[in-house]
Symmetry: C2
Subunit: 230 residues, 2 copies
């Protein structure tokens, strides 16, 4: 029976998020960020994706590959609860879970069929190189539950910080179209864990795309001090 449940990787995601830090905590938050699903050859035929263009949104079922070696916990501390309150793993979307399986709905932008079919999406919360195990169309009448109740989870995360750039950082942005907007968008949600909040002098770093972004936060202003090309 067990052998029935070996999982095949149908493709990999290429995303500008190169490390866990800075990835939005739920999909759909950073709509400016594009990612690409590159399907393995076996799943790349025109037939496999025929008609997918009729849907504006798709489900991506994936593995939290970075967490497998760390195991799973029966209790987790969701960031939305300030990192203090614990809830059960099945009452959270924590990546540290049995089978390390994630589901995220994303916007479908483009499908390019080829030896490796490439599907461009936006709004994903995936780390680069995430293995994909399934793609499904988003079906409005069965997936959108408008009257669902989610105590503690009602609100979409709000932008908390004003993002500013040093002259040096701004100069780097001039050379990369869209970089300034993307960084402003992502970092305005404050990617730092709750326990960072009072440590104002601490410089933080986040790898994004081909860059290491160095920033400091003071009150509600996040200043990008340096953008280092990797």
């Amino acid at each position: 029976m067990d052998s029935l449940y070996n999982t095949s990787i149908i493709g990999y995601i290429s995303s500008p998020f190169k490390e866990k830090f800075g990835i939005p905590r739920q999909p759909g938050i950073n709509s400016t960020i594009e990612s690409k699903i590159c399907l393995e050859k076996e799943f790349s035929s025109e037939e496999c994706v025929r008609g997918l263009e009729n849907f504006s949104h798709i489900w991506v079922i994936f593995k939290f590959h970075e967490n497998v070696s760390k195991g799973w916990s029966n209790l987790v501390r969701p960031p939305r609860l300030g990192g203090n309150k614990k809830v059960g793993v099945f009452a959270s979307r924590s990546p540290f879970r049995p089978n390390f399986t994630g589901i995220s709905v994303v916007k479908l932008l483009k499908i390019e069929v080829g030896i490796n079919t490439v599907i461009t999406i936006s709004g994903g919360d995936f780390m680069d190189k995430t293995p994909v195990i399934d793609i499904k169309p988003y079906i409005l009448y069965s997936d959108s539950i408008e009257d669902a109740v989610c105590k503690d989870f009602e609100l979409k995360p709000q932008k908390k910080l004003v993002v500013t750039f040093s002259d040096k950082a701004k100069a780097v942005c001039m050379d990369y179209e869209g970089l300034e907007n993307k960084l402003s968008d992502i970092l305005s949600y404050d990617p730092r864990p709750a326990y960072y909040n009072n440590d104002r002098d601490k410089e933080c770093g986040m790898k994004f795309d081909r860059f290491d972004i160095r920033f400091k936060v003071c009150k509600d202003i996040l200043n990008i001090q340096e953008i280092i090309k990797l």
Copy 2:
């Protein structure tokens, strides 16, 4: 790397649908039908489900276990398109898919913690004994995409048939509370594949709960002729 992706079964679903025929084609359609997720011991602690009661709906990630031996196809014929038009497997929710993984959102009714924790749900489209690989809370702001576009898939399936009962069938229903309502609900959606439509004299059978339900359809009336206890 492959060994990272062995899938553990975290529990099994007990459902009145004993065979594929008659199962609603999407979750959320038959809200009168309750199922139970019985978690394996390893995943049954109070901690694992702590806080889950704060959510009205949950995602169940599961395996289409009946289909694994039949393999997957790159093209499928969705019943909503009359069984004639083919679409790609990734543009459908067909169970015959790579990794045989399904996702369904269901209503959460009750959580009973024990040696095997039991979660009662309604609105599921699961066959009895379906293996479960994950449970996640439904999160309104990330999962409900109210403006999603789904061409060919806009409408919730409509009730098509008036369900009537023979005296003999009605007599059996008298002994089982709720059975008449459940059968009226499920069968009114016409569970038969498209090619049955013009074959009016054909008796159909559907195993549901502890019963074999025998019925015939004439025009828009479905008559339950017999309910045989198994």
